[in-house]
Symmetry: D2
Subunit: 334 residues, 4 copies
């Protein structure tokens, strides 16, 4: 089941080397101005090939609107956006079909879908599907624009190194993929978004963030460090009647609900499974372990592409909570 959201509802689809990837977005308010130009900046941020350590595969990644947009405005009906797959080199993948790639979904997909899965590239598991996520994020951000909510994610560590350039350079020298930490901060959120328990802000954001391929952890505010802290040290004193706190260990969420302070959370991204290094793994044809190396075109650090995806996921979750709270202002600029 590939849907997400209550009032701002996504259905994601497509395959890395199939006809297209895309997304259907239900719940976009009528009257939101939307053109292809709105998508370019974030789609560029998501694309590989421009940064050191990013995949040389190039797709134009211009959104193709198939429904829900008329005369450059959202109609209120569901919006369908496609991204065509033109620049595929599926033969790269056919070749190593005999090896379920370590760290990839090849093995579990084969078990789950009985061999009918589209095994080319990552198939329906591919990070290429995040194109649709980023597109939905563009729309979510635009819906929220009148609220002056600012969402910004950035890489804070690569390979354990807080100097990002240096961390990346080390991976390039090692000719190996590498992990990263991404932090997302949101200012301007109203107090009161989220619910106790199952629809807590943290539950929704963690759900969305863990859906991003290669994410292995998520933490809010002090996060894992909180496990080593004491109460007096961790509690954020409330210092005024607006709820401002002297510290922000909570990362802007208390009891599952936004408290009006900055939302701060982080994700851990593992090193790309597609390392250029030679690996030993099962050969399906022989049933034995043999040497194997990934060809294809891949990122050394998928973390570099992750900030815009994490921003998109954050915007998707937040716009849904804003809609649930009846807090979307419907006055947009084109």
């Amino acid at each position: 089941m590939n849907g997400f959201g209550r009032l701002f509802r996504l259905t994601i689809f497509g395959e890395s080397h199939g006809a297209s990837v895309g997304i259907n977005i239900d719940g976009v308010p009528a009257g939101l101005p939307l053109t292809v130009e709105d998508f370019i900046a974030d789609m560029e941020r998501r694309k590989g090939g421009k940064q050191k350590g990013a995949t040389p595969r190039q797709e134009a990644d211009l959104p193709i609107f198939k429904s829900g947009i008329f005369n450059d405005f959202a109609t209120g009906a569901p919006i369908t956006i496609l991204f065509e797959n033109n620049n595929t080199r599926s033969e790269d993948y056919q070749k190593h079909r005999s090896h379920p790639r370590p760290g990839h979904a090849d093995f579990v997909a084969h078990e789950k879908f009985g061999g009918f899965e589209d095994f080319r590239g990552g198939g329906s598991f591919s990070a290429r599907l995040t194109a649709g996520i980023v597109a939905a994020g563009v729309i979510a951000k635009k819906i929220m624009a009148p609220k002056d909510i600012r969402i910004e994610a950035r890489v804070t560590e690569i390979g354990g190194n807080k100097d990002i350039e240096a961390g990346l350079q080390q991976a390039i020298e090692k000719k190996d993929s590498v992990g990263a930490i991404i932090e997302c901060r949101v200012s301007g959120l109203p107090i009161g978004l989220g619910e106790p328990f199952f629809d807590s802000m943290e539950s929704a954001l963690a759900h969305a963030a863990m859906a991003i391929p290669a994410v292995r952890g998520v933490e809010f505010g002090t996060g894992f460090a909180a496990a080593a802290m004491y109460g007096l040290e961790h509690n954020d004193a409330i210092v005024d009647t607006k709820g401002t706190t002297s510290t922000n260990h909570a990362g802007g969420v208390v009891g599952g609900i936004s408290n009006g302070n900055e939302l701060v959370y982080r994700i851990a991204v593992k090193p790309t499974s597609s390392t250029p290094q030679t690996q030993n793994t099962l050969n399906w044809d022989t049933g034995e372990i043999s040497e194997f190396s990934v060809k294809g075109r891949h990122d050394l650090c998928v973390g570099l592409r992750a900030p815009v995806i994490l921003e998109a996921m954050t915007a998707i979750v937040l716009v849904d909570f804003l809609m649930l709270a009846g807090k979307v202002d419907r006055i947009w600029n084109a």
Copy 2:
């Protein structure tokens, strides 16, 4: 919205100092044997008052069945379970209504619900609502019993100390609450549970885990450590046709789907907000900051109660995935 799950569907309700807390569970298969005795062991593990550092508040916490069970078997209709609140001392809370407690939901609840929230204890935000979660977990575990899936969570760190006794003792000496790390391991899972993207195993487990009060982070396998690793080091080589891997950095989930190896994940629990220490925080009556100390009866380390709750959440998520995959064997022993 307080529901969770698709085929094994929970609705949680109640307040810490109201008439009761409880849970409604839809999707329990007809014929599952269920008696009060089935719940006692896990309800005891969840209760405070038996361990050093746990709250002296005592509730019998025997489940009261209001629907869906007949002659000691599930009927197939929704099961409603209540836990009565007998041992409440609401006057403790009435007193400090003038202070929104730091780290608690008092302030956000007041903003969100306009003062109509049940402010006694944690109200609907209280960890007391996890009684219903543990009860649902008992049922989920029992449904899965014939599959020989073993779920076990335990405290691995208190206050940054891997010697748990010592970590707790330090908090007692400091007269302060303290954080903890809980690890959950599941063996015996079939390959193929979960979906790519929004219904990934990690998304569902993180969603559920982050719904537990005081949880600030969740990580799978190597988790945040993966952010500092390289691909060759992180990839788990597949060593046989059953999908066994030589290492288990993935923590048993690849591409959002269980891979048949042990599921391993951890949560970070912050120190209880209700520290016995004196704090400075806003006084709603005066609009100024003043000294304040929590009376009530509280845990120094809620982490001590968390393992059985995390097991319950895990069981709830897994039984739903098993049902979605059509993999529940309906042969139970009473």
Copy 3:
């Protein structure tokens, strides 16, 4: 799965002769005043025993609030309401366990739930569960009260007779149960509730109405008569810029969306399966057909109790649509 609604979300539970029937209602806005007295009028309308042709079984049917209400106001947390079953005579049902009653769910329940179903009375299929529906309807009506939306349902035919007294008298004389038609009218609805296709106003109302036990059909406006009409005759001319139509064949819904004219729809209720007459049906013990007569205490015309239930279902659906449209005014009188 026993849930319904998006933002005003119900979970229904209980059995006719179990501990209780009840309902959980998520999404009730904080600040709605609610006391037991609010429920009495509609609960009385639903009860048997006061009218000719209604069951002599008497239950007090006072709602017991288990969560979500504090100091006579909704807190914003889920509301759980129980109705206790005190006046049960289960021995009536034990006796004819050997016969799956014609027109009842006995046979299908046994097949579906493998004999574990609560077979006493209607078990979880009982019309007694509509007590929870009526209670939810009371809350839904009260939420809508500031909008001046009036919902009124009434019996328009009994046994094919538009003279209701006469139709009922005929059934009493025949000592047999009898069917009825109920019409529901709603004035004061804003234009624009509902969506094209799957969330059309008609789809939602039909879904809810067909969930009422014994309902066999639902029609909007001209309904089945429309099938024999021509376009020029059926089309409602729009006569002003508010959308008023000269006729109301559409029954207030066009394209799945309320058009501001009166909403008009009808349901057909079959005769109660529990006729006092002797019937021939399968005897499970012998595998042969034998004579059988229902004891228990039953209505001759369940249709008499249906108007308040249909009003409740209508209110439940409409309040959800109003919430989705952000059109709930939160200013209530106690």
Copy 4:
């Protein structure tokens, strides 16, 4: 919100005169063989232009697969199908934009979507969106094929006339659109599909059927006639241990659950709003009532196209119930 279904889940999208109409279908089991040829027969049944009284608008209506199908088999990932809109004559619609057409959604769409709706043809309200429904129905039927469940819908009345040819001829002579009744019968259903109350078989089928444009009523078994019957007459005696009943007044559903007898239900379709006759209605430009006649290309009797759509809706609902019951056999022929 334009989604439907639990395990077989549809998202419908598109506009009559936009780029395309289409559907996303989540939950199609991996390994189902699917080619364009599978869709041709039902798509032809849905198309206008072949029958007397059907619209002369012609679209090829060949499904374009955008995701979820690989090498002629479903992969298990969501399937996206588009139908291109080539044969549009939007200028027909631009002209009468000044009149909200009687019986159409023009007026309510304008109020609901603030003028941003795609007003060309029926926009997102168009019956053209049923192309996606029929495509989903083809897939649902194919999934069920190994169960030997037969779904068949047919027109039983046109304009009140059971001689269908004569009823249609009368409309042609009157140069007016006309209503119809469609009956759907399903044999081979297992006992036990559906749930009491909100997920009753009747609720789900009525929900889906009322989502078809122009449907004004739905009834099961004896339907509205049941309102004029007595219990002894209406009850279906069970005559064997398989649950066979001597009569089938229930139409195959008791207590919301299939009873193994033939499922029988009917819908009432109103006359097409787009009658060729001249009508009086509001002119938005002048605010006054004036004469108006629909140009465009339309059906005299949409009922003629409805059987395949009703079959599709029925198949969609039934395959979801079969999946919920774990009763889909995964052995298909190409």
